[in-house]
C-alpha cells in the first residue's frame, strides 16, 4: 500500500500543485486548508507524512501537532513549511516535533527525497 500524505495548506493553488506532485510520485494524498480541518482529517486515520503550512487562517499549524499528539494520531513525520526563514520560528517548529522546517517553495526534487528518507 502506498504511503499517505496529508497536505495542510490554505492556498488551493499550492495544494493543487502538491496534489499533482505527490499523486504522480505514487503517494495517496489528502488535503486540509485549516487547523480545524487538519485535526479532523488527521485524527480519523493517521497519516505517514504531514506537510504543514505554519500560518493558517484559523491559527498556527503547530496547534495541529499538539491536538494530534493528544489524540495519539501524529503522523510518522511532519515537515513544516514557512514563507520566511528565521531562527526563532524554525526553533518553535522543531520544538513542536516537526522533523524539519522547509522554506517554501521547496524544489520538488529535494522535497521528494526528504519524504522518501523519512519513510525509509
Amino acid at each position: 500500500m502506498s504511503a499517505r500524505i496529508l497536505i495542510v495548506e490554505d492556498s488551493p493553488l499550492v495544494t493543487d500543485a502538491f496534489r499533482v506532485l505527490f499523486t504522480e510520485a505514487g503517494y495517496e494524498v489528502d488535503a486540509a486548508a485549516t487547523v480545524a480541518e487538519a485535526i479532523e482529517r488527521g485524527s480519523s486515520d493517521p497519516f505517514d507524512i504531514m506537510l504543514l503550512d505554519i500560518s493558517l487562517p484559523d491559527g498556527s499549524g503547530l496547534e495541529i501537532m499538539n491536538a494530534l499528539r493528544e489524540r495519539n494520531s501524529l503522523p510518522r513525520a511532519t515537515l513544516a513549511m514557512t514563507g520566511h526563514s528565521d531562527a526563532k520560528s524554525r526553533r518553535s517548529c522543531l520544538d513542536a516535533g516537526c522533523a524539519d522546517v522547509l522554506l517554501k517553495p521547496v524544489p520538488i526534487g529535494e522535497l521528494l527525497r526528504r519524504i522518501e528518507h523519512l519513510l525509509a
Binding site: S11, D16, A17, L21, K88, P105, I108
Partner: protein
C-alpha cells in the same frame, strides 16, 4: 527674544503661544508620517508574502513538468519550462529581498549570534558563486584570513551581506575580470575586523558612493538600465551591518573598479 518682546509682555506671550502651536503642528505631522510609514511597511510585508504563494505554485507546477513527471518532454519543451522555473526563481529572490528589507527596516530583526570563521563563510560563498562567475570568466579569490580570530555575530546575516557584495561584484564586472575578498584588523587594538570585497568592474562615481546604500536607489534607474533588481541589496547590507554596530562603505572611481568594505567588532558585548 527681541527687544520689543521685553517691553511688551503681551506680545511675548503671544509669540510663545504661536511657537507652541507650531511645535504641536510639527509633532502632529511627524506622527502622521510615522503612521503612514508603518502602513507602507505593513503593506510591503503583506504584498510580498501574498506574491510568494501563487509564485510557489507556478514554480512547483513548472518543476513537475520539467522533471518529466507528467510525461517526457522534448528538448525544446524542457528548455522552455526550465525558463519558467528560472524566471520564477529570480522573481522569488527579488520578493524575498523586499521582505528582508521590510523586516530589517521595521526593527523586526534580531541577531542570533554564534562564533564562526569569516574565511569559511567567504569560501562557501565563493563555491556558491562559482558557476555564475565562470559564465563571465571571472575569478573570485580570497587573499588572506586563515589566521583571523572567529567573530561573534549572526552568521546568516553576515553571509547575506558578503553574498550581496560578491553578487554585485559579479554583476558589475566585465568578462575576464577579477574579484577578491580580503580581511584586515582595524581600530586601536585591532578590535575590529574589516572585510573587503573588491572588483575590477566599471566602478562608481564618487558622488554616488552614498546613494548606492540608500533604499530603492540605483545609480541608473532608467527602465532601460542593463542590470535589474530591487535596488535594496546594499540598503539591506547596511542595515544588517549597522545592527552589528559595524560600518559599510565603498571606495571607487569610474572605470577603476570598486572596493566595498564593512567592519565588525571582534568582541561585542555578550548576553
Amino acid at each position: 527674544m527681541t527687544m520689543s518682546d521685553r517691553r511688551d509682555p503681551a506680545a511675548l506671550k503671544k509669540r510663545v503661544e504661536t511657537l507652541e502651536q507650531q511645535a504641536e503642528e510639527a509633532q502632529r505631522a511627524i506622527d502622521e508620517l510615522r503612521s503612514r510609514d508603518a502602513l507602507k511597511t505593513q503593506f510591503l510585508s503583506n504584498i510580498s508574502h501574498d506574491l510568494r504563494t501563487p509564485l510557489a505554485a507556478i514554480i512547483t507546477h513548472a518543476e513537475i513538468l520539467r522533471d518529466g513527471m507528467l510525461g517526457e518532454l522534448n528538448q525544446k519543451q524542457r528548455d522552455s519550462v526550465t525558463g519558467i522555473v528560472n524566471g520564477g526563481q529570480q522573481l522569488l529572490d527579488m520578493i524575498d529581498e523586499i521582505l528582508t528589507y521590510v523586516r530589517s527596516a521595521s526593527d523586526q530583526v534580531s541577531l542570533v549570534r554564534t562564533e564562526f570563521s569569516l574565511a569559511e563563510v567567504a569560501d562557501q560563498l565563493r563555491v556558491l558563486n562559482q558557476a555564475l562567475a565562470a559564465k563571465k570568466r571571472l575569478t573570485i579569490e580570497r587573499l588572506n584570513g586563515d589566521d583571523l580570530p572567529p567573530v561573534y555575530a549572526d552568521r546568516d546575516k553576515i553571509k547575506h551581506v558578503l553574498g550581496n557584495l560578491i553578487g554585485n561584484a559579479i554583476k558589475f564586472t566585465n568578462d575576464g575580470g577579477r574579484i577578491w575578498i580580503a580581511f584586515s584588523r582595524r581600530g586601536a587594538d585591532g578590535e575590529e575586523v574589516c572585510v573587503e570585497v573588491g572588483d575590477t568592474g566599471r566602478g562608481i562615481a564618487p558622488n554616488h558612493h552614498e546613494l548606492v546604500f540608500r533604499e530603492f536607489a540605483q545609480v541608473d534607474a532608467s527602465p532601460s538600465r542593463p542590470h535589474h533588481g530591487t535596488g535594496l541589496g546594499l540598503a539591506i547590507a547596511r542595515k544588517l551591518v549597522e545592527l552589528h554596530s559595524g560600518a559599510i562603505w565603498v571606495e571607487s572611481e569610474l572605470g577603476k573598479g570598486s572596493r566595498f568594505f564593512f567592519t565588525l567588532p571582534l568582541n561585542p558585548p555578550r548576553d
